[in-house]
């Protein structure tokens, strides 16, 4: 069954009609105006609250959770880990000299030298391997604690992702955009089906969150996970729901998706880490 699902999803991605002419800036304007028209009563910066921006019924319960948030301990642990020196005497602060001012709003960014997009998590692990330390696991655990700490220092900063006029950067952006709109999996649904076209509708008992503002609150503590997870952990879960084979966390595919997905929230304030059901 899994094999069928993968084969189908590959076929479908190839078959999806796709116009690449629009610039990232055009896309952003269209994306923004779609959601502000669809949800005229939601102030733009409220989209950072995910489904709770459009689901008044569960908002109160969520606000109560946020009073004593489960991610608080992750932030504390993250601070401790961040400040612990590596075996070579250096530390994370040497890799992220401006961390106290808040840096997460600039991730993911396109690195001209390598021609690749760098995510917050990939930068954390690169800092480690550059200093002779082992990589942390990508989706949960220590890496989410460190990124939760860095996210907490970036609260209130506006998402500021840049797609420079560089063929490689644009290609990565377009790959992410394509992932977002392409039908996939045995159930044949795209991210856009659930989080764009039908955002605000109910799928079974769950209201679907708008994709605008999706990225601002990560990493999140999810009750269902009984722990913290990265954005790529969530991507994997959403791919599995439609019976598509998930990609690996920090794969080129999910990094491209994160690049597009975060760019769409440019100008919205970071509010991570956050709490989800």
């Amino acid at each position: 069954m899994i094999k069928i699902a993968t084969a189908l999803s590959v076929m479908l991605i190839a078959a999806t009609p796709f116009a690449a002419q629009a610039t990232p800036d055009d896309d952003l304007k269209a994306f923004r105006s779609y959601f502000t028209k669809k949800f005229p009563n939601v102030p733009v910066n409220d989209f950072v609250n995910g489904v709770y921006a459009v689901d008044s019924a569960s908002r109160e319960q969520w606000e109560a959770f946020e009073e004593f948030p489960s991610y608080e301990i992750a932030v504390d642990n993250g601070e401790g880990k961040f400040n612990k020196k590596f075996a070579n005497g250096k530390g994370y602060a040497d890799c992220f000299p401006n961390y106290k001012k808040g840096i997460k709003q600039n991730y993911p960014y396109f690195d001209t030298d390598s021609g690749k997009v760098v995510t917050m998590e990939s930068a954390i692990n690169k800092c480690r391997t550059d200093n002779g330390e082992k990589k942390l696991k990508w989706k949960k655990g220590a890496i989410t604690e460190i990124s939760a700490y860095l996210a907490s220092l970036s609260r209130g900063h506006k998402t500021n992702v840049k797609v420079p006029n560089d063929a490689k950067a644009i290609a990565i952006y377009n790959r992410g955009k394509k992932h977002f709109y392409a039908k996939r999996g045995q159930l044949n649904m795209s991210c856009a089906d659930c989080h764009y076209y039908y955002s605000g509708s109910k799928i079974r008992a769950d209201i679907l969150s708008p994709a605008l503002g999706h990225t601002t609150g990560f990493p999140v503590y999810r009750n269902k996970w009984a722990g913290m997870g990265t954005l790529h952990r969530r991507y994997g879960g959403c791919n599995k729901q439609v019976r598509a084979k998930p990609f690996k966390a920090q794969s080129d595919e999910y990094t491209a998706l994160e690049y597009f997905h975060t760019y769409m929230s440019n100008g919205l304030e970071l509010n991570g880490p956050s709490q989800r059901k």
Binding site: Q186, L187, N188, M189, Y198, S201, K202, I203, R204, D206
Partner: protein, 122 residues
């Protein structure tokens, strides 16, 4: 299993009534079993899972992505059109979110028949 048991009971009742001389045809026992099976498949999260998107009488916690499934005979005078919609909704709307149950082998042709038969009673 339960379906088989159900068939047996219904059939024996039919047989009994049959002796009394006013038997509904055996086909109606089969029909009842088919409808029960169709309903079960429609509600099963691993099969139709229609409630994810449609309100259906008898189901709870339904989503509202698609229209409530009511008055199906009025909306689909032609049963075959309904079956086609359930088998592959892309025929009517190429970009539909509704799952292509037939072509993607989420349900077999027989299962789609059962689901369609049940939905047609709504």
């Amino acid at each position: 299993m339960r379906i088989t048991a159900h068939i047996t009971t219904t059939t024996s009742i039919v047989a009994l009534i049959g002796c009394l001389g006013f038997a509904p045809s055996i086909a109606s026992a089969d029909e009842a079993a088919d409808l029960a099976a169709g309903k079960k498949l429609s509600f099963d999260r691993k099969k139709g899972n229609c409630l994810a998107c449609h309100e259906i009488a008898g189901g709870s916690l339904a989503g509202n992505i698609g229209p409530p499934l009511v008055a199906m005979k009025a909306r689909f005078p032609d049963y075959e059109k309904l079956r086609a919609q359930i088998s592959d909704a892309r025929t009517n709307n190429p970009n539909t979110i509704m799952i292509p149950f037939g072509p993607h082998a989420v349900m077999s042709s027989k299962e789609i028949d059962l689901v369609s038969t049940f939905i047609y009673t709504l």
